[in-house]
Symmetry: C2
Subunit: 418 residues, 2 copies
């Protein structure tokens, strides 16, 4: 690119109509001039060839993505990760904010993903390492999306659970059990104090545990637990399947007795989730398979909070995500960033309930509460309830007791206030 | 796990019914005992808790994933990439083959992805770094899938193009042009000698270039080019959009004049592509946005050939993929592995046409042919045709001339044979 070519891919924020652009934060490592690399990044993700040969025209003013901000630092040691066919030249670590005109593709999730995580972003000349760190949407773009149908307040209302975390359990053994003993485990966990018992993300509509029969028995068990405890309970049926079965399986699950559905968001596709949102009559819960494959490393891929925001955009009422604890390989700040992405203002969209999970049990609740600094979250145990040596009712009760101790401590006058 | 627990996650291949298992090749880096890490990898991706508390049962024989082979090498320098919350212990680089019982989830792409790229794989204790390198399906599993409708032979038949690469061009400027001048560019490229002119993967059904009008004008231009050249041509309309519009947009495109459709496979979802396959009457072409985000690094994520195999499974007739050349940051062996994944035997499924692309033009054709060692591929140029200084007809002609020179050389008696 000539220096004049480059200039067409830079802008000041006040020169642009804010409602016409998404804002994207990238970190990247490039070889050669960082300014030229950033211009390529914008060119490749928008109008890579901005005029016809022999025609005096320029598509950049309307269609080009534009660099709003760029910082660079030399990396004398070269690229942080080994990269194939690494380009030559001095290496810099860069941070760029890019304004991308959403009129290029419109309020369609697959086209949005193609623009912000597509060939243009990952194959820009000179940039072998790049991570999409965050995305911001103007209200004009969000207006085309419904977002969560129930959101945090709607879930609380349905469960009559206020001013505290919502207690989830993943029924285990996660696969292999037929519906009757599976339902008995759900019943025990509700009796013990869980709000929500859910299918594992790996449990599908399989011959050895068909969804219809499972939902019927779990629905019966749920209503029995509701009668006995006097409080509403929720059974989340995993309806993850081919996209053209989602609507049908939602109806099968709900008609038989499920009152929420689980969908593995990326495997099904965020667009499939958005389609289901238009039909769903019960809360939609997202699970996180596949996301770690592109979000774990700090220097490459897509930050998980981008996907959290997109799951909220697609309409999930609750988003299960990697939480604290060594097994989840997720830094604390990333868990908190994802929790905030669920709860913070996002145009007209309701908040989604964040459900950070990872080998949790009664013994981790206090620390999770302290780290999150809010009660607007779902606390999810698997083996912490269903592997409890005294059984699932005792496992669930242990979590409620842990919460009661925390609540007593935080609502009692604290020494400093006395 | 106890050593007895571990043993339940290992098996010899000859102890298992080959038709009941997928085979997965992983590379990973673990802290601690590699054998225990591999057992956890299997446990987490299948039956993580294999019995109820207080019940004498064991779900592992039927439901557990099992290690078939494991090799490990000490990594005295520790993990290859910095990882958050890295587990402690001696680090090893490992290679494992795992047999995963597909009856756990069935022939459903989202559930397959959840099993092989899900929480179990990326959150196994002790394994912060892992890459799914390859996947093999038994015929019993493939039997549930249709695969490509036309395949390589069907595409050749439709284009009457035999014993040579199929020549694609991506109409550029990729976004910004209204339908009439866009169609004129397509016409010029066909007249010049392209078989296939296609929409860019970023071009959607947008107000400034609506799909119906675009397909109508391109269809007209295509038929004109066919009359004038006497050979069939193909216009590939990009119908990437929300999944619940795919079928409708396929019909809009085809009814107006497109005779193939482009779908951005991962953004739409492989399941959405499989749904479209059941309805499609024209060839389906896949584009590769998002895939690089989890496939570029050698030590983490998912190898791109896994996704190539899944795109073939979903039914794509042609698969556009990163090709040779510095801009694509893709090692030569990886391009070749993806080409083979399209063409090699895969149960009853037809081959998909591999279309490795990346800043190609007449000047790169010879090298691409030599590297691939087959003519069963699509050669795709963008700016190499539409940025040609003498216009797209000359750009397309330059590619055909390059091919004619190659063909003359390879079909002429070579000196050694004289």
């Amino acid at each position: 690119m000539t220096s004049d070519d480059l200039a067409g891919f830079f802008a000041r924020r006040d020169e642009l109509d804010a409602q016409a652009y998404l804002e994207l934060d990238f970190t990247f490592e490039c070889a050669g001039d960082p300014r030229e690399a950033a211009a390529h990044l914008c060119s490749e993700q928008s109008t890579a060839q901005w005029r016809r040969v022999g025609v005096d025209e320029d598509f950049r003013p309307r269609f080009a993505a534009k660099v709003l901000a760029l910082e660079s630092t030399p990396l004398p040691g070269g690229f942080s990760y080994p990269v194939p066919d690494a380009p030559r030249g001095a290496v810099h670590a860069c941070r760029a904010t890019v304004a991308h005109p959403h009129g290029n593709f419109g309020p369609r999730i697959p086209n949005l993903l193609s623009a912000v995580c597509g060939e243009g972003v990952f194959f820009a000349p000179g940039i072998p390492l790049i991570r999409l760190e965050d995305i911001r949407f103007p209200d004009s773009y969000l207006a085309a999306f419904d977002g969560p149908q129930f959101g945090v307040a709607g879930l609380r209302e349905r469960l009559q659970a206020f001013n505290r975390p919502i207690f989830f359990g993943v029924i285990k053994p996660n696969i292999g059990l037929p519906p009757a003993p599976f339902a008995e485990l759900g019943y025990q966990s509700w009796i013990g104090g869980l709000d929500v018992a859910k299918d594992d993300e790996m449990l599908a509509d399989v011959a050895w545990c068909p969804l219809a029969e499972r939902a019927a028995l779990l629905g019966e068990a749920r209503r029995r637990a509701e009668r006995e405890t006097g409080v509403p309970k929720m059974y989340v049926a995993n309806i993850t399947d081919e996209v053209d079965r989602l609507v049908e399986l939602h109806d099968v699950a709900v008609n038989h007795g499920a009152n929420a559905v689980l969908v593995n968001a990326i495997p099904v596709g965020l667009s499939g989730a958005r389609m289901l949102r238009r039909h769903a009559t019960v809360p939609m819960i997202a699970h996180f398979p596949f996301i770690a494959s592109f979000s774990r490393l700090a220097g490459y891929g897509v930050h998980s909070r981008v996907i959290t925001r997109l799951q909220r955009l697609a309409g999930f009422d609750a988003i299960i995500m990697p939480g604290f604890g060594g097994r989840m390989f997720t830094p604390e700040h990333e868990v908190l960033e994802n929790v905030r992405a669920c709860l913070e203002p996002m145009g007209h969209l309701k908040p989604s309930l964040p459900v950070p999970g990872g080998s949790d049990s009664a013994s981790t609740l206090d620390a999770v509460c302290a780290k999150l600094g809010t009660v607007d979250f779902g606390f999810v145990a698997g083996r912490g309830v269903f592997g409890h040596p005294m059984g699932p009712a005792a496992g669930a009760a242990s979590i409620r007791q842990a919460w009661d101790a925390i609540a007593a401590r935080t609502t009692a006058p604290s020494p400093s206030r006395v």
